[in-house]
Assembly symmetry: C2
Homo-oligomer: 194 residues x 2
């Protein structure tokens, strides 16, 4: 919503025009807003970091006249749910057979490791093959540690280790339901236990 | 560090040139970097939100050609420490007798309430009268609930309820020491118990 100049929000991601015109970021933002409204969780998207090159003072305040997007060193979304620190990112790929790891920068991978080590919950929401998958940070780390020559995560791994996020009217993507199941002993979301 | 165009980082705050040329944001960023390096906590400043008005495609990627700073709806810093969600902001005032509450937007105040309700730790780091004070979110809420006609927090309240943050070589501002004391039964930081 901060990009009225015709920019796509997922400027560095494959764009998804499927889900009723809403891209993954929109769906997550709407879901987070709903979670906030019903007081279930406090989770926000971080602003996109930019590198300001030129600016000037105007009667409307400081105007940025030249700037570029810069690479985030963490993940895009974080907050708190049931007392737990939550930290995740959203990724979209049109690739049907595997998730290219170039989508996950080394510092982001390190960040996932750190968050988990400090007691937080970290994961990716991956849109792939017309579904939204929750892939837990522990499974991402396991995969990379055991397959450090592979440049992508096979879709079979995501199907096997990940969880399909239910699409609902409210919240649009109920990813906290997966976290309930994995971390708070919640009920199954319909998928068989592994 | 994202403002090479001569901008001050605390564009909407009173600027402090005292502490060896470093402003409060610098001191906190350096402290957070140190905490990260010694693997004590994972806490980052969020990027400053901007409203992009115009942009264009160039051979260096998308160039933002017109943008303005927008008001953040949360606090500037968040992350995880000892499994706890941490969420805080840094404020500077040259006022010697009270901290003007116009420095804390209503949505930020609401955010502090929410974070605490969900089990996180929220606070302000206030630079005032040449010291750095930790003022816990609970004490901020208490003050506002009990004094909702006052437009500022008297310095005596900050001195009484707050904690002076020790300035060290590393970390420059050891605010986690206060959190240890308040939330993890840590040792006193030299201040009398209240």
């Amino acid at each position: 919503m901060n990009y009225p100049g015709g920019l796509t929000k997922n400027y560095n991601k494959t764009i998804n025009y499927a889900n009723r015109g809403l891209d993954l970021e929109d769906l997550i933002n709407i879901s987070n807003k709903y979670y906030l409204e019903i007081d279930r969780a406090v989770i926000y998207k971080k602003p996109t970091p930019i590198q300001i090159v030129e600016s000037k003072y105007t009667n409307k305040g400081i105007e940025i006249t030249k700037a570029f997007f810069s690479e985030p060193s963490t993940l895009d979304y974080n907050g708190i749910y049931k007392g737990k620190y939550i930290d995740f990112d959203a990724k979209v790929t049109k690739n049907k057979t595997s998730f290219p790891l170039e989508n996950l920068h080394p510092h982001q991978y390190k960040h996932i490791e750190r968050v988990i080590r400090h007691g937080g919950i970290s994961f990716l929401i991956i849109r792939m093959n017309d579904k939204y998958y929750y892939l837990d940070g522990n499974d991402i780390i396991d995969f990379i540690n055991n397959n450090n020559t592979r440049k992508s995560i096979p879709f079979s791994y995501i199907e096997n280790k990940g969880y399909v996020i239910k699409e609902k009217i409210q919240p649009r993507l109920d990813y906290l339901e997966i976290i309930d199941k994995l971390y708070f002993g919640g009920e199954s979301n319909g998928k068989e236990e592994k």
